[in-house]
């Protein structure tokens, strides 16, 4: 699965989460998404449901995410087995 497709999915999940249209690019900074701790948990749940895989523990640390690309990289790693 390529980055662009994952980005589209991510934008759709973020839009649902924030209840407004979100159009991120891979360079969008994580902090600019203004996700609360509860939002982030919900985003992880949405990603896990979408891809039917679970995040590794090491990827459940906020500080790891600087840009949207970092989230995409984790998703790619998570679904890497496909």
């Amino acid at each position: 699965m390529n980055d662009l497709l994952i980005l589209q999915n991510l934008n759709s999940m973020l839009s649902e989460l924030k209840e407004s249209q979100i159009e991120c690019s891979i360079d969008t900074e994580y902090d600019s998404l203004a996700l609360s701790s509860i939002d982030f948990v919900n985003l992880v749940i949405m990603i896990e449901t979408q891809y039917e895989k679970e995040f590794d523990d090491e990827d459940l640390v906020f500080a790891k995410y600087k840009t949207v690309q970092d989230i995409i990289d984790v998703i790619k790693k998570m679904i890497g087995g496909r």
């Binding site: 609360s36 701790s37 509860i38 982030f40 948990v41 919900n42 992880v44 749940i45 896990e48 679970e54 995040f55 590794d56 523990d57 090491e58 459940l60 640390v61 906020f62 500080a63 790891k64």
Partner: protein, 357 residues
Amino acid sequence: MSHINDKRKQVVCDIFKWYLNGDRQENYIFDYDMYKFMKYHKLDGIYFDYCKAVNENQMPKELNRHYYALMSENENQIAIANDIGIILDEVRYVFLKGLPLMVNNYKVAYHRYFHDIDLLIERSDLSSVEKKLFDSGYQYGWEYQGKMYPAKREDILFQKMNTHETFMMVKKTADGFISYVDVNFLFSWKGLENKEYNKNVFNDLYDCIRTVTKNDCNINCMDSNYMFLHLCCHLYNSAHFFALDRFYSGNDPEELRLIHLMDILLIYREGVEDVKIARLAQEMKHTEKVLFVLQILQDVLDFPINNLYELISSRADYPINVDRYFLSNGEEKYWNIDINNRIFGIEEKKKLFNEVF
């Protein structure tokens, strides 16, 4: 303070002196209301023995049975902890709070009872520890009236991502005992919205681990300096951040329990190095937390620890306010009742909470 709160405070101070220094209060008569108050603060096992030491015949028989049963439960906890140590094999860990305190610092097992076995591990070992505990029968969830309830993935993640520990793990042992384990991966956390990944966890403690043996079981725990520091952090956090707990329902948070002050005084008496604690507290950015506890010990229980207080307060950036707490949205709030009434006037505190939340 009201007359009843003054009376409670006097009895509590006498009991602390009896337990810590061996002072005796003669002719004390067992009082059921006082017993209920002590139970709120988890000091009921000590109160039971305090009254029993004055006059064994005054004690209700059902309480005798209750504390013998509690002693047996605590012995189960020791055996379970020993099994967990075997399960974890080469993973580095220490037990925190209730278990090592009960084994090391309390005279009788039922003086310090606890619900969960708390572990502290390195964050990077979490997956491995989780797997080992799952393999031995634990699951995320809880037990209620004989039935196991698994935790939702959402709640497991929330706990793991936003606090210092995992969601509680539960297992029914072969003999029907319900065992709970909390796996901590941070020494102390700083609040829900803090995204900083605190690396100051296990590697720094590694040289401070000691193993104590009880009932042929080995219990890994921290040395008294780190234990003192950890207990101060725990008390501070529960007093400040109770409303940030996702499961907090607005009831009395029981955020300041006297048993935790007893824990801290017992560890201090065991022997700590004031200079080292002051240095560690500063390095780990916990001076405010230690100062909070020292202030309460001095103001509420009249147990000043002057040398440490001076060392810590000289390193603190600003004076401590024991009345502060945080709402779930991070808003800073202050109690409308003073610290003595929060501890000794539990009825007033409950009434206040019904109004505030």
